[in-house]
């Protein structure tokens, strides 16, 4: 039992982290809370499904294409909508949320309901880890998640573009004065967040069936993880994902599986009461705390 909690808690945590990472990256750099995250997630899954099943493309091609399309969509959203609303937090939230709803409900209206909307797993079969049977897809997710984190770390800390990203995140005006275009960086951050969102959709959705309602769930999960960890901190997201991930598995193993979705939200409220800006949201504490 304990071993299986260890294994499945780990997998669950990685899934949560991947889902939340896109949201957190975007917010951390450009301060845009992308509430259309859930919409992009499902859209990424549906594009992959369409390319793979309906157009008969190879898996990696259709997955790659849909990731690129979603990334472009994120950039486009910044260019067309968000650039007019920069700095107006409320308007940004409403605009992105309404875009998310438009995407999700449009998909529902176009007939995305039922059980045929399912991306196949990359590789069938299962292996034993510490004596617990685990599907290969889940192992792929964990590996991809780790790889993604390493790449992300390398990108942010060892490339010029990453430096520009960090610059804008820290002080937009100063970044502007040294020749960084904050609009360009913000646009790229949205594209990057969306790419991660679509990537996680491509990896995670084969575990189940694509359904519109999951889009809303994903948004809520991402928000909960980000709030617990501190909205802009990548390390915070990781830690929070592991906290929630393990709490969820422990709850369903030892208390009641019915409570799995309530517990993380309750955690979130608890954390807010004690540390309003999240576990690692230090830099914001002075500003945000009233």
């Amino acid at each position: 039992m304990l071993l299986s909690v260890l294994v499945y808690g780990f997998i669950n945590s990685v899934i949560l982290a991947m889902v939340a990472l896109g949201f957190s990256i975007t917010f951390g750099i450009s301060r845009v809370a992308n509430f259309s995250h859930g919409g992009f997630y499902i859209l990424g899954g549906i594009f992959t499904w369409y390319g793979l099943i309906k157009l008969g493309m190879p898996y990696f091609l259709s997955a790659g294409l849909s990731i690129i399309i979603i990334g472009a969509l994120g950039a486009l959203m910044y260019k067309v909508i968000l650039i007019r609303l920069r700095g107006l937090e409320l308007s940004e939230v409403i605009a992105t949320l309404s875009l998310g709803i438009v995407i999700l409900e449009l998909l529902r209206g176009l007939g995305v309901f039922g059980y045929e909307f399912r991306n196949p797993v990359f590789m069938d079969g299962s292996v034993d880890i510490l004596g617990v049977g685990v599907g290969i897809q889940r192992i792929i997710i964990v590996c991809a998640g780790a790889l993604l984190l390493i790449l992300l770390h390398f990108f942010v800390h060892h490339t010029k573009m990453g430096l520009a990203f960090r610059g804008v995140a820290q002080q937009e005006h100063t970044a502007l004065s040294v020749g960084i275009n904050p609009d360009l960086v913000s646009m790229l951050s949205l594209a990057m967040g969306s790419v991660m969102c679509a990537l996680s959709a491509v990896l995670i959705l084969p575990l189940g069936v694509i359904s519109v309602d999951e889009g809303y769930d994903i948004l809520i999960k991402a928000l909960a993880v980000c709030i617990i960890g501190g909205l802009e901190s990548t390390l915070g997201v990781l830690v929070a994902a592991f906290i929630i991930g393990y709490i969820e598995v422990l709850t369903s193993m030892y208390i009641s599986s019915a409570l799995t979705s309530v517990v993380p939200l309750a955690c979130m409220l608890g954390i807010l009461l004690v540390r309003p800006s999240g576990i690692f949201g230090k830099s914001k504490e002075i500003e945000e705390r009233v």
């Binding site: 809370a33 909508i81 007019r84 609303l85 107006l88 937090e89 409320l90 308007s91 939230v93 409403i94 605009a95 949320l97 309404s98 875009l99 709803i101 438009v102 409900e105 449009l106 529902r108 209206g109 809303y216 809520i220 928000l223 909960a224 709030i227 909205l231 009641s256 019915a258 409570l259 979705s261 309530v262 939200l265 309750a266 979130m268 409220l269 807010l272 009461l273 309003p276 800006s277 500003e287 945000e288 705390r289 009233v290």
Partner: protein, 341 residues
């Protein structure tokens, strides 16, 4: 020297000194001021009683949604941008439903009691987030209703997924519609008066400059609590009212649609004006009914409208119309060109 044109806006000559002192010299000018103010009151009164039975129900829902929009706008004016008015609605609805069903209280007691209890619980639920500014409040209000919905689903309290049915109804549709309309006007004029009072200025200051509030020796948190109590109380009343109107209460009181509508109405009508949300609700209520034929696409149209307004006309319809009404606009030559500032 280029001759460019610019748009000149001049206030109509009846306005003197401030926004609410006028120089009137004829009945025509009185009419100019009175008609736009009387139009909604009289128009709604007529509309509510003249339309066929089914549309009367739509009017009731429109009025209730109007109140929710007013409450959202009030809270937004205090810097509390809620994405979950449904939470307050549901808490009011469940309180009133429980008072009626379990305690057997009659309708004229269960609604006020439901409103009060709902508002107290709502405030308690929101309290943890009041220390934060920005999107934290929005996110938490978005999440709490979903969480409580799951709690009701899981524990089966208050009837679980099937809810409580068979609550006491209102005596008739005329009473219902009259009550909802009166409540709407009380909310509207009450809030307007509140915002204009000294007490209300503190609320507005919470949004504009909360440190000024703190510097004045007032507790930000305590005033935010009061703002939440007032705002959520209005929604709780809506919930309690609708519960009795439909004689049942269920998990769907936490529905996201109920959170989206007030935002949409406020954005379309004009945020921060109080009249705007009302106008928005009166437009969107019947519109969403007319869109029912589109089935699921209704929400799409709705959300698209919301997005379009926030990007293209962020001030909202009401300030736009008011400007057109109160100002003379004309193109004039700008000989020196238009300065960039």
């Amino acid at each position: 020297m280029s001759t460019e044109r610019r748009k000149e806006r001049i206030d109509r000559p009846i306005k003197a000194v401030t926004d609410d002192i006028f120089c009137l010299s004829s009945i025509r000018e009185i009419a100019y001021l009175v008609i736009p103010r009387m139009l909604p009151v009289v128009g709604l009164l007529l509309l509510a009683f003249l339309v066929p039975p089914y549309w009367r129900k739509v009017m009731v829902i429109t009025f209730v949604m109007g109140m929710m929009a007013l409450s959202w706008d009030f809270m937004a004016s205090c810097g509390l941008t809620s994405l979950g008015q449904a939470l307050f609605f549901a808490l009011g609805a469940y309180s009133a439903g429980a008072a009626n069903h379990y305690l057997g209280l009659p309708i004229y007691l269960s609604i006020p009691l439901g409103t009060l209890i709902g508002a107290v619980i709502s405030t308690a639920c929101i309290y943890p987030t009041l220390g934060l500014r920005g999107i934290y409040f929005s996110v938490v209000t978005l999440i709490i209703p979903l969480m409580l919905m799951r709690v009701v689903e899981t524990t089966g309290i208050f009837g679980g997924t099937e809810g409580i049915t068979g609550l006491s109804p209102f005596p008739g549709i005329i009473v219902t519609i009259a009550l909802s309309m009166i409540a709407l006007w009380i909310t509207f004029f009450g809030l307007r008066r509140l915002i204009d009072s000294d007490y209300g200025h503190i609320f507005v200051a919470l949004k504009d400059n909360d440190r000024a509030v703190e510097a004045s020796g007032l507790s930000i948190r305590w005033f935010k609590v009061q703002a939440i109590f007032i705002g959520s109380g209005i929604c709780c009343f809506c919930g309690a009212f609708m519960t009795h109107y439909y004689m049942s209460i269920g998990m769907s009181a936490f529905a996201v649609d109920l959170s989206i509508f007030p935002i949409a109405a406020s954005v379309v009508g004009g945020m921060g004006t109080l009249v705007g949300p009302l106008l928005g609700a009166i437009i969107l209520g019947p519109l969403s009914e007319a869109l029912r034929a589109f089935g699921s696409f209704r929400v799409v149209i709705y959300a698209a409208l919301l997005g379009t307004f926030i990007v293209m006309l962020p001030e909202g319809l009401f300030p736009y119309l008011a400007r057109k009404y109160q100002q003379i606009e004309r193109w004039v030559e700008a000989p020196g060109g238009i300065s960039e500032d």
